[in-house]
């Protein structure tokens, strides 16, 4: 149990490498940097292998998860906070630094460390002549650390730490050549679009925690399986959809895929590791991890499947006409991720995970091979200026050919088994409806074969279309680069054999291993329409033949157009349907649309367009009209006050109070005339009065 108990060491190995690079990297020799950074990843991989072996003994096929809490963050004792929620339950917040190992994370652990190790070895050769060597490996190790945190986390919060961390490393590595504006813009775009997804993720995780009382996967799975919640529960559906928004951002689905093609600005090993094999699968991992929740939310699953299918066909269509070798592979990645989500959405979780596993091998292979081609072509990435390389860089050619066959789904290579399983499940599922999802997948497979074959033919076959200078320098890559290619090629061939389904006579080791994780896989809402039995074995074979046929047809078609491509070869779509070509070549103008609607950079005069323009309009409305009304009300109040004051001053005070006073004063004027102050006058008046009395009495 040593390795299991020290599972927390696995992420720490690359973290150590990153820390070393951070503190001492500048002063170290390239050889030291390589030794340290590649070494820690190798260590992590070996450790991971032993850990998984130990885990299989631990679990004995039951798939019970192994959990190791390293540090308890919040909560007292059993993780409960000391306050009571409205419904009387005790609030709980379980977000420890804990590690969880079960079949799902074991698979991820193995291929992340394995493919990561291979790519690190490759990078030693690829980045040998580049500046910032230690920085590159420091970031790569940091990425491995955060990715491992993500997949080994036992709760949504720690997963989110890893989630954000890989987003950060993606930013750092895409913008590795930061003095190129296009690169730094692409890095910002990746991070920002990712962040939009993260908002959804956070809301979803919080909704789950609020509703179910915990962030911990074990708790959530237990609650979801307990039968306490109805299928179609609105809060769970909302949470599932929100989590999926996060997955769209991280795993480049519609509408948040726009960052991935631009991410090709980064060095090719980065594209291979992060944007093909590992980081972009984080969304798939998260949805697979939350499968218990998704099974209770058929609406959410339907959404996942539809978006996955649409993304698959959408991206494949764009890849048909791209000229940059890495762009083709980028759109191919988006398309294959769509397949994975399609699988998850129809309830075939094991098939989706299987495709992640096989895809990691052949996509990493294809990217590293492309890197090898670019290296041979002295930095040229545009396939229009390649050609006839198969004799000159034969190892690269052969391995890339294997990768292409794998992705196209030619048996018995890896891609065939995983892709076919997905298509079969898509047909079978209740979500398949009138098997339109299968049809979309089938069309995508056809396109995949076409554009990948086109890539091979334009790059390696036909006439040499490069400048003489470049042609002169074409050389095969060093062993440090071709070695990994060979390893991955072997993987691309063999990896599929782990998941050969029963109908082909295989044991489906892969599916059986994952069974405990997806125990409720066949829930009522997504039960297959046809009963199991002999008749569906025939259907499965038919569909398989159809998809292999599609691959062959697609490849043959491409051969027809591109195998002998000379200078200024014609693009068939451009010739036959120019407007369609324009639309596809410009990626359906989605980036331009986003620019108009969301960024607020476009203005008419002073007025912004799009969402920012709406904000500008609202703020104008608020300032002018609403505040204006408030100001007017204030003015009216003041006017009334003025009126009131005038009334009080002139009418009340004037007439009421001062009036009588003035009247009194008016009356005093005549009265005053009698007051001369002369004594004799007073005496006269007295005498007059006396006389008056006297006369009166005499007359009486």
């Amino acid at each position: 149990m040593f390795f299991l108990n020290h599972i927390w060491l696995i992420p720490l190995f690359p973290a150590f490498g990153a820390a070393m690079m951070f503190f001492f990297g500048r002063r170290l020799q390239k050889a030291t940097v390589s030794a340290v950074c590649v070494g820690v990843v190798v260590l992590a991989f070996l450790f991971a292998c032993f850990t998984v072996v130990e885990y299989t003994h631990f679990a004995h096929g039951t798939g019970r998860p192994f959990e190791k809490i390293v540090y308890t963050w919040l909560g007292s004792g059993d993780g409960h906070l000391n306050f009571v929620k409205r419904d009387g339950r005790l609030a709980s917040f379980n977000a420890d630094a804990g590690f969880l190992l079960d079949p799902l994370s074991s698979i991820w652990l193995l291929f992340v460390t394995g493919v990561g190790m291979v790519i690190h070895i490759y990078s030693v050769g690829y980045m040998a002549h580049e500046g910032g060597y230690y920085r590159f490996f420091g970031y790569m190790n940091l990425f491995m650390f955060t990715m491992l945190l993500l997949i080994l986390a036992n709760n949504y919060m720690l997963l989110f730490v890893g989630w954000e961390g890989v987003g950060l490393c993606s930013y750092l590595l895409i913008g590795f050549y930061f003095h190129r504006k296009s690169a730094s813009d692409a890095a910002s775009k990746a991070f920002i679009v990712n962040r939009i997804g993260d908002a959804g993720f956070i809301l979803g995780a919080l909704a789950l925690s609020w509703y179910l009382g915990s962030f911990r996967f074990i708790d959530i799975n237990a609650l979801a399986h307990s039968g306490h919640f109805a299928i179609g529960d609105p809060v769970l559906t909302a949470a599932a959809l929100l989590l999926f928004v996060g997955a769209c951002g991280k795993s480049a689905q519609i509408p948040l895929y726009v960052w991935l093609p631009d991410a090709m600005e980064g060095p090719t090993p980065v594209s291979a590791l992060i944007h093909a094999a590992t980081m972009v699968t984080a969304g798939v991992y998260m949805v697979a991890r939350s499968n218990a929740v998704y099974m209770l939310a058929p609406t959410a699953m339907k959404t996942v499947a539809i978006i996955g299918a649409l993304t698959a066909v959408f991206a494949a269509s764009i890849a048909l006409v791209q000229n940059d070798i890495k762009r083709v592979l980028a759109y191919s990645t988006i398309s294959q991720l769509g397949y994975m989500f399609l699988a998850l959405g129809v309830g075939a979780f094991a098939a989706g995970v299987f495709h992640v596993f096989t895809h990691a091998f052949f996509k990493a292979l294809l990217f590293l091979g492309a890197g090898s081609v670019i290296h041979a072509m002295s930095g040229e990435q545009d396939m229009r200026y390649m050609g006839d390389l198969r004799g000159r860089i034969s190892t690269t050619y052969k391995t890339m050919l294997i990768g292409t066959l794998a992705i196209a789904g030619i048996p018995p290579l890896a891609g065939f088994f995983s892709k076919d399983e997905i298509l079969w499940q898509a047909w079978r599922s209740a979500e398949g409806g009138f098997p339109y999802l299968w049809l979309i997948g089938f069309g995508t497979a056809l396109m995949t074969a076409f554009y990948m074959a086109r890539l091979i033919f334009l790059t390696f076959w036909g006439q040499p279309r490069m400048s003489h200078e470049v042609e002169h320098h074409v050389h095969e890559s060093p062993k440090s680069m071709t070695g990994p290619l060979v390893v991955l090629a072997i993987g691309s061939v063999c990896a599929g054999w782990l998941g050969v389904p029963a109908s082909f006579g295989g044991r489906n080791v892969f599916g059986k291993f994952l069974e405990p994780v997806f125990a409720q896989e066949v829930a009522a809402s997504v039960a297959p329409r046809e009963p199991a039995g002999e008749e569906h074995r025939g259907l499965e074979w038919t569909l398989m033949v159809l998809s292999v046929g599609a691959a062959v047809v697609g490849g043959g078609w491409a051969h027809h157009y591109y195998a002998k491509a000379g200078k200024d070869y014609p693009e068939p779509i451009a010739v036959d349907a120019p407007p369609l070509y324009t639309v596809l070549y410009n990626k359906y103008f989605v980036d331009e649309a986003y620019d108009y609607v969301f960024t607020g950079r476009r203005k008419i005069g002073d007025v912004r367009l799009g969402a920012m323009g709406a904000g500008q309009a609202s703020s104008w409305f608020d300032a002018k009209i609403i505040d204006g009304t408030v100001n007017d009300v204030g003015w009216v109040t003041r006017a009334v006050a003025t009126l009131s004051t005038w009334w009080d001053k002139w009418i009340i005070d004037g007439l009421g109070v001062n009036g009588p006073a003035i009247l009194a004063r008016m009356m005093s004027y005549p009265a005053r005339l009698f007051e001369w102050g002369l004594v004799q006058w007073y005496a006269l008046v007295m005498i007059a009065g006396l006389l008056g009395f006297g006369v009166y009495y005499v007359w009486k």
């Binding site: 005053r672 005339l673 007051e675 001369w676 102050g677 002369l678 004594v679 004799q680 005496a683 006269l684 005498i687």
Partner: protein
């Protein structure tokens, strides 16, 4: 020669009284006004003594002495006022005593 009856005395007293009143009302000099007031008082005295002779008792004469004492006090006060007034206004012209004029 007719008998000098009480009536004669009354007429003389009345004449003195009226003269006194006219003096009080018309003279400008404050001292003359005061003298006129004395004249009025003496006219009243004469009246009282005449009636005392008529009735044959001394009531009238006693009252006349009262009045005389009173007149003396009053003259003293009046002169005091006059002097105080003169100190303020430097004149004894009664027309100029109009400080209470509006």
């Amino acid at each position: 020669m007719a008998e000098i009856t009480t009536l004669h005395y009354l007429v003389v007293a009345a004449a003195l009284f009226v003269l006194g009143v006219i003096g009080v009302l018309t003279r400008r000099n404050v001292v003359i006004v005061l003298m006129s007031i004395e004249l009025i008082l003496n006219a009243v005295n004469l009246n009282l003594v005449a009636f005392s002779r008529m009735w044959g008792n001394l009531h009238g004469q006693v009252f006349a002495i009262f009045i005389t004492v009173d007149a003396a006090a009053e003259a003293a006060v009046g002169l005091g006022i006059l002097i105080s007034f003169f100190r303020n206004k430097e004149t004894i012209n009664v027309d100029e005593i109009d400080l209470l004029k509006w």
